[in-house]
Subunit: 204 residues, 2 copies
DNA sequence: GTCTATAAAAGGATAGAC
DNA sequence: GTCTATCCTTTTATAGAC
């Protein structure tokens, strides 16, 4: 791992901003240079091409996209704690990095091939979570359903509000993004309530 | 309403394809012309500029994005029928037009201003639905919660799987899009089951 | 209405001085 | 490492013949 110079880090941050606002196709090298307060030639000096610079940004964003899950600790985890952690870490993540969901979603959509190698490199493995949910169902702790679909639902509820933020903010909250932000923040709890009926209570 | 010539319709269809695959910034007038089997100059003859052509496409897509809801009939509608209709029409819509969600989401994100006038023109009014849900809660038919958030959840569960299709297909279904497609199709029913606990059953 | 040819501008990339 | 100047390709847009 080669240490990154300050200039390099400044460029990466500027590039991150521009690429996540405009996408690969819409981003301009000039704008990245401007935001980094450096010259356009420097971008090429450090990263050779727009495509290569984008790859760095996308790779980093993709890595950030998955909340830290200790797969090894999953096996014995209480379902309520599991939910609490997953929802909470997703919401915290996207509160701080609101650009992540739509950036990943759009760019994966534009070029699904880019995804292939990243999946292997990243070591992310949702199937472990699916297996965990499946076991909870077999043990009668969770209501029985397709475990992949349950995970899909949890992810949908966590991510979509952020991915559709400008749209939802205007359609449902009259453009008052602060109002919407409060709702998003409180979802750590309200989503747990929403999903509560899936958990089968022991009547002991 | 001026009648559209055949050429115009062919152009619009080609433009729709290219813009929804590549986005405004990534789309090329040449590619649109090629797919329409006409000359590039014709695009400008009919639509003046790329931007104007895009506006037509976006406007049409935005209009399609909202399932037909008879707001006037809402007041007296049974909640189970309501859910069935909303979920069913959303899923049918996106099954047939899978490009819609991510197209709208990305472009709204890139340029939120474009949205403003469209919202007014479109006559879409989610607040009517929010009010409907609210009334159901007051009447003890639906579990009490923030009605805007309930609508947000319903929409999240309906749209996100389509917006994230390439990602989810690869992460959860091993890239087997047919497998995923079956899950999406069956969601008309499984989502109703999933939301069932919100409905308070009368014990009469 | 449709085409070919071309203008005009934008944007990515490089050369070369310092 | 950093800058200025410039190249060269791509892409939007228009002129003008048919």
């Amino acid at each position: 791992m080669v240490l990154k110079s300050d200039t390099e880090k400044i460029i990466l941050e500027a590039a991150r901003e521009v690429f996540s606002e405009k996408g690969l196709a819409g981003a301009r090298m000039q704008e990245i240079a401007d935001r980094a307060n450096i010259n356009k030639a420097m971008l090429h000096y450090y990263f050779r091409s727009k495509e290569k610079l984008f790859d760095e940004i996308f790779k980093a964003a993709f890595a950030e996209f998955w909340p830290e899950v200790q797969y090894s600790l999953l096996a014995s985890l209480d379902i309520e704690i599991f939910l609490e952690r997953v929802l909470s870490s997703y919401i915290d993540l996207f509160m701080n990095k609101p650009y992540l969901p739509i950036f990943i979603l759009s760019e994966v959509n534009r070029d699904p091939d880019r995804l292939e190698k990243l999946i292997k490199e990243s070591g992310v493995n949702p199937i472990a979570i699916v297996n965990y949910l499946n076991k909870q169902m077999e043990q009668g702790i969770l209501k029985k359903m397709n475990p992949k679909e349950l995970l899909l639902n949890i992810i949908s509820l966590s991510i979509f509000p952020f991915a559709g933020r400008p749209l939802i903010s205007r359609m449902l909250f009259d453009g008052d993004d602060d109002d919407f932000k409060n709702v998003l923040q409180s979802r750590k709890q309200t989503l747990i309530d929403f999903l509560q009926p899936l958990i089968i209570k022991n009547k002991a």
